[in-house]
């Protein structure tokens, strides 16, 4: 089953995750679910910002298409996930992009801070593999199949 935008093009997910193994897990999961999307993985906050704001290595628009969904871990080396979230939500251009935090951190203050910064959703990476699969599955379908997006593809 393919999920496509209203215009029928594959959706792009920006995955900001410093743990390579976790990134792999998530990719594999999306593959298993056949949530056919393009996933761009960046390993830290700074790179994520560069990508989103088309700076540095990502100055070329072609190399950095706007994602439809940002999956964000909170604990990142250097600039942490919360800062990235704030940067996105502060930006007029980017704030419409749904940001979903996917993290191992249960800490209440992280959740609160994320919502204060207008995160769209906050998910925990479950320890149990089956559950992990389930989350990835539901995540995919919800945000990519069910959720409506406000923009036309650029």
């Amino acid at each position: 089953m393919n999920s496509e935008s209203m215009q029928g093009e594959p959706l792009l997910i920006l995955l900001v995750e410093d743990d390579d193994a976790h990134a792999k897990l998530m990719r594999r999961s999306f593959e298993e679910q056949r949530i056919a999307n393009r996933i761009v993985h960046v390993p830290d906050g700074e790179t994520a910002i560069d990508y989103l704001f088309r700076r540095g290595d990502y100055a070329d628009r072609q190399s950095s298409p706007r994602p439809h969904l940002i999956l964000l871990d909170i604990r990142l080396p250097g600039i942490d996930g919360l800062e990235v979230l704030k940067a996105v939500k502060d930006s007029e251009e980017l704030r419409r992009i749904p940001v979903v935090i996917v993290t191992s951190s249960e800490a209440e203050r992280d959740v609160a801070a994320a919502y204060d910064a207008h995160v769209n959703s906050y998910l925990m990476k479950p320890l149990d593999f089956e559950k992990f699969q389930q989350v990835m599955h539901d995540l995919g379908f919800y945000w990519l199949a069910w959720n409506h997006y406000p923009w036309k593809r650029e």
Binding site: R75, G78, S104, F132
Partner: protein, 650 residues
């Protein structure tokens, strides 16, 4: 011849008779003049007394002066004309006396010619002939109006005085100036005071002395003998009143001297002061009780007047401020405050007196005070106010809170330390829970995938999965090891000693000689690294961690360099590890000392080296921080260490 003799004798006799007669006449004349000149009136009356009384035969000039009647007017008249109203009992008495032929002496009211009254003193005497027959009556009349008036006045005054004396609360007396000092007069109210009558005192000279309390007798008499020198005495003694009990009396004695200067007598005022003494003693006891409370109070208590002048200060005040007994009273309270405070304190008083906000009054405030030797110290001051005799006074209670402040500071320090430890522990827990969970997620995830891939028989995938699981497990192990290290460092610092930093630096360099050689890192150690004070093994750890860290941060470059040295920052000696490596973004300068915060994926390890170094340096009482201009501009890690044992630091 007998005839001649007889004639001669008859002539001589006649001559004698004549001479007699002449002399008598002369005498008579003198007498007459004397009578005429007398101030007292003389009235001579006939011996016959009829219904009207005798008739006036002669009056002298004084009669006219006194009564206003001329001689012509009264001669032949009865002296009764001098009486205004008959029936005056004295006049009756006179008539009777005269009728009986006796002497009369009396005083009664007579009337002058003009009708005015006067008090007449009459002495009336009959003149008898040789046979005893009354020839005349002679009356001497004296105008004693003034005397009578004075007497009456004096009698009246005396009466008044006596009444006054009776009603005074004080017993008035006069007494002899010697012996038993027996009373010669004592006011009647003595009966109310002592139960004894005035007569008891005046009839027995020893009465008063006998009833003095035996213990006081000597003192009383000694005191009385001193009256002769001083002229007066006030003393108190016990005296036995009628019911047998002793009561306290206050005696004010004064000496009255005669014209020649010798003591004529004593006068005095005697008062029962038993109740008064009791009240006074009660008051005194209360007062001394209160005074004792103030004097023995641990806090300084001072009273100042509305000008700020110290009126009273207790012992604690003198001790607290370092002044001797008299040095505080009379001085202005501002001497106890440092100059700016002193002005402010006076302003408080001025404000309060002016009806402004009571700054200190009642509420109490913390201030700085200054001792006599100029040393300042913190105090708590509470001020109260009271009024006495229309003057306002302020009471200040001062507590030296130096100890309290010190304890407060200590407490604050402890709290701050606890808080920071708590915060760190929180961070620690947070970090640990997250960072230990991550590899578990990986393991669990890849195990799941492994299962799938085993079923599918995808060898490559299987290998990949196993690799990830392995790596994650190793990561966990490394994490746990670092955690252990970190918790062991803790606050427990071992024996402190003098340590040569230079030696330690060399050791640290030796420990990394492998990587240094491999990457051709140039390491420079400054020769003037000093001696520091601390736990040798721990300090070596610090240097080691910094060394490893520096190497890590070198990055890829042509000529990697590490410099270990010391520099002076103001009064502090700072040690540093400098590298020309990849540098650190200023935003992360603090983060890197936090647990497991890795800056970049390029660096290896779990990032616990710097946190450990920080813990050790902190525990020694030093500071550690990072300096770097930014990415690509190298970094310098600095720390300070106390050169003296912590306990000896100011």
């Amino acid at each position: 011849m007998d005839e001649v003799d007889a004639l001669r004798r008859r002539v001589a006799a006649l001559e004698r008779q004549c001479a007699e007669a002449l002399r008598s006449e002369g005498e008579l004349r003198l007498v007459k003049v004397a009578i005429e000149q007398m101030l007292d009136a003389v009235v001579v009356t006939s011996p016959i007394i009829d219904a009207q009384g005798p008739r006036i035969a002669y009056v002298n000039a004084a009669f006219t002066t006194i009564t206003g009647y001329n001689a012509e007017e009264v001669i032949g008249e009865s002296p009764r004309l001098l009486l205004g109203v008959t029936g005056d009992p004295v006049a009756e008495d006179l008539r009777r006396t005269v009728a009986e032929g006796k002497l009369f002496h009396g005083e009664f009211v007579n009337h002058r010619k003009d009708g005015s009254e006067f008090v007449a003193e009459w002495n009336i005497k009959p003149v008898r002939d040789v046979q005893g027959k009354i020839l005349q009556w002679i009356g001497i009349l004296r105008d004693v109006t003034k005397r009578v008036q004075t007497e009456n006045q004096s009698r009246f005054t005396n009466q008044q005085l006596l009444v006054l004396l009776k009603s005074l609360p004080v017993v008035a007396y006069s007494c002899r100036p010697d012996g038993d000092f027996g009373a010669t007069f004592i006011s009647e109210n003595v009966v109310d005071v002592t139960g004894f009558s005035a007569t008891d005192f005046t009839s027995d000279p020893a009465f008063w002395a006998d009833r003095i309390h035996p213990e006081d007798t000597r003192r009383v008499f000694e005191g009385l003998s001193a009256v002769f020198d001083d002229g007066f005495l006030e003393h108190e003694y016990r005296w036995k009143v009628r019911d047998g009990t002793y009561r306290w009396f206050q005696d004010n004695v004064k000496i009255i001297r005669g014209a020649d200067g010798t003591a004529a007598y004593f006068v005095g005022a005697w008062r029962d002061i038993t109740e008064w003494r009791r009240e006074r003693d009660t008051l005194r006891e209360a007062e001394s009780g209160f005074r004792a409370v103030v004097e023995t109070a641990a806090d300084a208590i001072m009273t100042i007047d509305s000008r700020g002048e110290i009126v009273e200060s207790n012992r604690a005040a003198k001790m607290m401020f370092g002044y001797a007994r008299d040095e505080l009273v009379g001085r202005n309270v501002s001497i106890l405050m440092p100059s700016t405070h002193g002005e402010r304190h006076n302003n408080y008083i001025a404000e309060f007196l002016g009806g402004g906000q009571p700054g200190i009054i009642g509420v109490g405030r913390e201030l700085t005070a200054v001792r006599k030797d100029g040393k300042s110290f913190p105090i708590h001051l509470a001020v109260g106010e009271f009024e006495q005799n229309g003057h306002r006074f302020f009471t200040g209670i001062v507590r030296d809170i130096t100890e309290q402040k010190r304890a407060e500071r200590e407490r604050e320090q402890l709290i701050a330390e606890l808080e920071s430890r708590n915060a760190e522990m929180e961070r620690f827990n947070y970090t640990v829970s997250h960072d230990l969970k991550s590899p578990l997620i990986t393991i669990s995830g890849f195990l799941g995938l492994l299962e799938r891939d085993l079923t599918a028989g995808n060898q490559e995938r299987i290998r990949e999965n196993l690799h990830e699981i392995n790596a994650a497990a190793k990561k966990m192990e490394a994490l746990l090891n670092d955690l252990l290290r970190l918790s062991q460092v803790g606050r427990v610092i071992g024996l402190r000693e003098s340590v040569s930093l230079g030696e330690l630096a060399q050791e640290a360099v030796e420990l990394v000689v492998g990587p240094v050689a491999e990457r051709e890192i140039r390491v420079e150690v400054s020769p003037d690294l000093p001696i520091v004070y601390g736990d040798r093994a721990r300090l070596l750890e610090v240097l080691q961690n910094l060394m490893e860290n520096a190497i890590k941060f070198l990055g890829d470059q042509a000529s990697p360099q590490i410099e270990i040295g010391t520099r002076q920052d103001g009064t502090e000696t700072v040690f540093y590890f400098g590298d020309n490596g990849i540098g650190i973004d200023p935003r992360h300068h603090e983060k890197i000392f936090g647990l497991f915060d890795r800056l970049s994926r390029k660096t290896e390890g779990t990032g616990v080296g710097l946190p450990i170094a920080k813990r050790i340096v902190d525990a020694h009482g030093g500071r550690i921080w990072a300096e770097s201009a930014g990415a690509g501009q190298g970094s310098t890690f600095c720390f300070t260490l106390p050169s003296k044992p912590f306990s000896e630091q100011p």
